[in-house]
Amino acid sequence: MQEPRILPCGDTALSIEFGSSIDADLNDKVLALDASLRASPPVGLRETVPTYRSLLVHFDPTLVDYDVLTRALLDAAKHLHPEASTGRRWKVPVFYGGSYGMDLEEVSERHGLSPEAVISLHCEPIYRIYMIGFMPGFAYLGGLDARLATPRRTQPRAHIPSGSIIIGGAQAAVSSIECPSGWHILGRTPVRSYAPEREPAFLFAAGDEIVFDPKDPALWKEMEQAALAGEPVAELVAP
C-alpha cells in the first residue's frame, strides 16, 4: 500500500491524505483511521474531521510534537482494517419534483429523460456518506448514477430549502438547514439531519449508507410534523 501523505495545516492541524480522487476505497481508509484514533486518541489530539480522501487532525501543539504525532498517525495508518461502511443504512423519504424539486424538469430535459426516469435513476443506488460538511449535517454522497451527472448552475441560489435532495457534477447530497447552493434540486425530505433540540442532534455520520424512498405528496404534512416534533423520520434498515 502506498504510504499516505502528511500535509501541514498550520501549527494546530494536519491532513493525512490517502489519495486525490473521490473513491470508496480511499474513503474507507479515512474512516478506518478516524475510528482508530477515536478509539485510542494520541496525546494532544483535539478532534478529527473525515473528508473524501483525507482525515483532518486538529491537535494542541503545546501538548504534542508535530513529528511525534506524524509518526503515530503513519504507524496507525499501516494497521487499518477498512470496513465498507459503518453498518448503518438509512431509508430516507423523498418527495420528488413540483415545489419539492424545482429543478427536476430541467434536469430531465437536459438528459433527454422523463422525470420518472430521473427519479428512478436517482433512487436506485445505495449511496454512501463520504463526509459531512459545509453546513451542520449536510451529507455529501457518493454513488450517483453517471447518467445523472449535471454541471452546477451558473448562478448559485442564495437559499435552498432545508432537506433539499440535490445533485451537482458527479456528486449528490442531502442538505440540512437552509443554505446557499449551486446544485440542482430534485426533491426534498422532511428528515432533519441536524435538529438542535433533538437527541442526537445529528442523524448521519460519514460512512453511513443512504437509500431514497419516493413518497406521495399527500404524506408530506404528516411526515414534516413528525420531523419537527423530533422524530428521525429516516429509518434505519438492514444493510
Binding site: 501549527d11 473521490i22 474531521v49 473528508t51 483532518l56 486538529h58 460538511g133 438542535p196 445529528f202
Partner: protein
C-alpha cells in the same frame, strides 16, 4: 435577575466565547471570538476565566443599560470610547454599571473587534457546548440570532461584585509580518507565485467578515488548476480561488472546502490579523513548526499571565478627577494609567 439591555448596536454584534469544538465532523464551524486575546483581557478585568462568552462588537459600538441590579463590565480589543452617564471610562479598566445606568460604546477608532465582558458571565444556555454565534447556521448566541436593539441578556452577576481593576497589557510579539506555515497545497502554485506570496504586500479588502478576509494584491498563479477534491478547513487557511486573490479563512469558516490552500497563518497570529481593518496592509513570512509552536506557547502563557498584570483601581477615581489631581507630571501613559506601586512591585520582573 440582572439583565444587560441592548438599546442599540451595530449589525454584526454577537455573543462569542472560545468557540464550539468537537463537532466539525458534523459540519459545525467552531466560530468563537475573532480576537481571543482581547476576549481573555476583557474577561480578566472582571475576574472571569479567559474563554467565557462576551459581546463582540465589529467596527461599531452600541448602547446598553443595566436592569435589575449592578453589573461589573470591561471592554478590550478595538479602541472604543466608553462613557457611563457622560463620565469617560479609562481604557482597560473594569467599571460598575448601576441599575438603570447606560453605557455608550463608540465606533472603533483602531482595530475592528471589541469585547464587552460581564463579571460572572451570561445566564444563557449554550448550544453544543458554546454560546458562540454562527451566522450561517444560526447556531448559538441569544436564541440563534445576532444581538439587536431590545435584546435583554440575563447575567450571572458575580456577587458581591469584586473590586475594580485595570490591566497593564503585557508585551506581545506582534511586530512584523504575519507568520505562516506553507501548505497544505503549496504544490498547486508556481515558484513565482510562492515568491510573490512571501514578498509582496496585501491589502485587507471590504470583503472581510467573521468567515474570511479577502485580500487584494498581486495575482497568485496556480500551477495545476484550482479544482481539488474538497478537504478539511482550519482557521488561518489561505485559499486561492480562480481569481488568484487570497482569502484568509477566519473563525466562522466552513469545515470543508474546495480551493487549494497555499499556506496557513500560525495560531498565534490570528488575533492580530483579525484586528487589521479594511485598507490595512500585511505581509507574510514563512516559518517552520518549531517557530510556530514557540509562538503558540508564548500566546498561551501570555493569556495565563493576565491576572498578574491587574492592579486595583478605586471606583471614585474618575479620569476627570485624576487629571484634576495632577498626580503625575507630564503625560499620563494610557497603557499604564494608574499603577499602584505596592501592587506592581511583584510583577516588575
Amino acid at each position: 435577575m440582572t439583565e444587560l439591555v441592548v438599546n442599540s448596536c451595530g449589525p454584526m454584534t454577537s455573543l462569542q466565547d472560545h468557540g464550539r469544538f468537537g463537532y466539525q465532523r458534523f459540519g459545525v464551524s467552531p466560530s468563537g471570538a475573532m480576537d481571543r486575546r482581547a476576549l481573555a483581557m476583557a474577561n480578566a478585568l472582571v475576574g472571569n476565566p479567559p474563554e467565557l462568552a462576551a459581546i463582540e462588537f465589529m467596527h461599531l459600538g452600541g448602547s446598553l443599560t443595566a436592569s435589575g441590579g449592578k453589573l461589573q463590565l470591561a471592554l478590550a480589543g478595538a479602541e472604543c470610547a466608553l462613557t457611563v452617564g457622560g463620565r469617560l471610562i479609562p481604557p482597560r479598566t473594569s467599571f460598575d454599571l448601576n441599575d438603570g445606568e447606560t453605557l455608550e460604546i463608540s465606533a472603533a477608532k483602531a482595530g475592528t473587534f471589541a469585547y464587552l465582558a460581564v463579571g460572572g458571565g451570561f445566564s444563557i444556555s449554550p448550544q453544543l457546548g458554546s454560546l458562540s454565534f454562527h451566522l450561517r447556521s444560526k447556531m448559538g448566541g441569544l436564541d440563534g440570532e445576532l444581538l439587536r436593539a431590545g435584546d435583554r441578556l440575563p447575567c450571572l452577576a458575580a456577587s458581591p461584585a469584586g473590586s475594580l481593576r485595570q490591566l497593564a497589557a503585557p508585551p506581545t510579539d506582534d511586530e512584523g509580518p504575519i507568520r505562516v506555515i506553507m501548505g497544505p497545497q503549496d504544490d498547486y502554485f508556481t515558484p513565482e507565485a510562492i515568491r510573490t506570496f512571501l514578498t509582496c504586500s496585501f491589502t485587507v479588502s471590504m470583503q472581510a467578515d467573521r468567515m474570511g478576509f479577502q485580500l487584494s494584491g498581486p495575482r497568485i498563479e496556480h500551477a495545476k488548476g484550482f479544482n481539488i477534491v474538497s478537504d478539511g478547513i482550519v482557521e488561518g487557511h489561505i485559499q486561492v480561488p480562480g481569481s488568484g486573490q487570497l482569502i484568509v479563512l477566519m473563525r466562522d469558516r466552513q469545515t470543508a472546502g474546495g480551493y487549494p490552500k497555499i499556506a496557513t497563518v500560525v495560531s498565534a497570529d490570528l488575533d492580530r490579523l483579525a484586528q487589521i481593518r479594511p485598507g490595512g496592509t500585511l505581509q507574510f513570512r514563512a516559518v517552520d513548526q518549531a517557530e510556530a509552536v514557540t509562538a503558540a506557547r508564548t500566546r498561551k502563557d501570555w493569556i495565563a499571565s493576565l491576572p498578574q498584570w491587574l492592579t486595583p483601581v478605586h471606583p471614585e477615581l474618575t479620569t476627570e478627577r485624576l487629571l484634576g489631581a495632577n498626580l503625575i507630571s507630564g503625560a499620563i501613559d494610557a497603557m499604564h494609567p494608574l499603577v499602584d506601586q505596592s501592587a506592581s512591585s511583584g510583577i516588575a520582573d
